[in-house]
Symmetry: C2
């Protein structure tokens, strides 16, 4: 006989819900949060009792190491509601494994699998009504871990807090996206933390992205910091290039985040007979293809927008516009992935995970 061990989660419910005050048709990404949050503290070498509590501020000593040394990692995932009110996650095991991989690189303790899944499911069921039906609607889920020990000693913290907060999201269309290919600034170093979803990788990009914004670009595509000759990834997306009928994307490395959407794009493309070359992609090659007309598409892949088509790009003094096509790989692949996420299609890959 199998005894199922259920993780005991302490639950304290909010007195009332904020949901009535939320305008679900005009959401700004990541700024409205649900009624509850999941928290779990690490002290003296182990994780304590996981808890769900009303969404509330964190109270931390000013010397907490997260403020001084950015010992912090996070994840981004989404929950979807199907037409029959089923609630689904997309490949959550990937996010779970990745947050622990990120934690290891940041000298932080790994989080137990059952705490993660039980915590997440319990939280989603409690805040279920925040997950709305309909195209593009989802609940963005943000697990994160921060170093909380009060001490400005420059060494790993002995105390941490694991938190999950959730924010309702609409499908995001931010207008046409033009990207700048980095030729001076860098996102990450070989031997650095670029492969970790560590807070430290993000703030560092804001300044060069601001500079690109001023030149009329919405985002930067980072290149390798050694030579700036190879295309790596965007700020929160991996990047694909379609030349002729082939898709190209950079291999993951210690500089590049191993994106869940990237993996899924590769699998869907290949299942649809598209050749995907995962190999170093030279800036030169993309510029040449743009000039000769064989560059058909560029798109980013990431949890927030699934696929984000790029309308044009700039490299040094040159600007290139991409052709508009009606049968883009971007839209075909996006539809295939979204149909799986919303439980509107078969799931040949076993990616869907039912919350209840």
């Amino acid at each position: 006989m199998k005894t199922e061990e259920v993780t005991p989660i302490k639950i304290k419910k909010a007195d009332s819900s904020k949901i009535e005050k939320v305008d679900f048709d005009h959401l700004t990404f990541g700024s409205v949060f649900t009624d509850h949050m999941f928290v779990c503290d690490y002290v003296n070498g182990s994780w304590g009792t996981p808890e769900i509590i009303p969404y509330q501020p964190l109270v931390l000593d000013p010397s907490a190491r997260v403020f001084h040394y950015a010992q912090a990692v996070f994840e981004g995932m989404k929950a979807y509601r199907d037409d029959k009110d089923g609630i689904w996650l997309f490949r959550p095991d990937e996010n779970f494994n990745r947050i622990n991989k990120s934690s290891v690189r940041m000298a932080m303790p790994e989080f137990p699998e059952d705490y993660f899944f039980e915590g997440l499911k319990t939280l989603l069921k409690l805040d279920e009504k925040w997950i709305r039906k309909g195209e593009g609607n989802s609940l963005y889920i943000r697990p994160f871990v921060i170093a909380t020990e009060p001490s400005v000693m420059a060494s790993p913290s002995g105390q941490y807090k694991f938190v999950i907060i959730c924010s309702p999201a609409q499908s995001y269309y931010g207008g046409e996206v033009r990207v700048k290919i980095a030729d001076h600034y860098s996102r990450s170093a070989s031997g650095g933390i670029g492969a970790a979803k560590a807070a430290a990788n993000y703030g560092a990009q804001f300044y060069p992205t601001n500079l690109a914004n001023k030149e009329g670009y919405q985002q930067v595509i980072w290149t390798d910091s050694n030579t700036h000759e190879y295309l790596e990834e965007a700020g929160t997306m991996n990047v694909f290039f379609r030349i002729g009928d082939k898709l190209l994307t950079a291999p993951t490395s210690d500089r590049i985040l191993d994106g869940v959407t990237r993996k899924s794009v590769i699998a869907v493309a290949e299942a649809n007979g598209i050749t995907v070359e995962v190999r170093p992609v030279k800036v030169e090659e993309i510029v040449a293809a743009a000039k000769s007309g064989t560059l058909k598409e560029i798109f980013g892949s990431g949890t927030a927008a699934v696929i984000n088509p790029v309308a044009g790009f700039g490299y040094k003094e040159d600007k290139f516009e991409l052709p508009k096509s009606s049968d883009s790989y971007a839209s075909m692949i996006k539809k295939a992935i979204i149909d799986i996420q919303y439980n509107r299609a078969e799931d040949p890959f076993g990616w869907r995970y039912e919350v209840r």
Copy 2:
């Protein structure tokens, strides 16, 4: 007639002092804090009223951007009490300029000079009794700025908090220091944020430093991330090498922090007739000098320990011990700097800054 504009600082004093409970002879670096802290909030494009309040926790939304994107910078400086109860800072203008330089690189707003100096002086006067007389005693000062806007959007925060906390410190002797020269992991990328005193540069080093600790080294000396052929700096110190009678140190760059102590070491060495070569230093060159016996000293320079002599180093499979010398540059330069800091010597460079 000159009207002096004095910055109005709102002061709320602590009801009682914690100082009686502190064992000043057994302080752990950076874990005990004084009775007050300085805070100032940035909202709607400007810094609000600077305040001094009792030392207390920060209350932040779980979505505050510092937790997710490490938009955070800091400084490290010290206050010293001389034998006649004068209170001194060491080159505080350097720290003020550097925190703003760091903020710019992290897409954060600069802090006004008068707020910084008035805030710092007022805080130090209020917590004056925490600054103890005597060799090695000092008050470590930690100004820092964090992004507080509640939103997980991956873009610069619109709200920030500038904070100064202070922690009494003793002279630090952590035993003999042996360092590992990095041949795989990196601290920063060309085009990255290594020159900023950004939180993001520190957490990233903990994991490789842990690995070095396991091999018996206390610290890592980072090399350039492109080739690992050039010596750059340590985790919280710049590094000097003495070959024969010359001192070598790497030039600052966008990968290396422009240390206040480093500058001071160079000036003191030159004033004492020592040749200082500020130029790229090859690992190869240092290994060869260690083998031939011309490598006399390695030391780190930083606010915490001023000068930290290195007893030995490891590079790949090899280990080297440095000769013990009684007339080391390290101790001569350290004494010269400390004598200026404690107002025990002339200050030909104009480095001292009196708090009152």
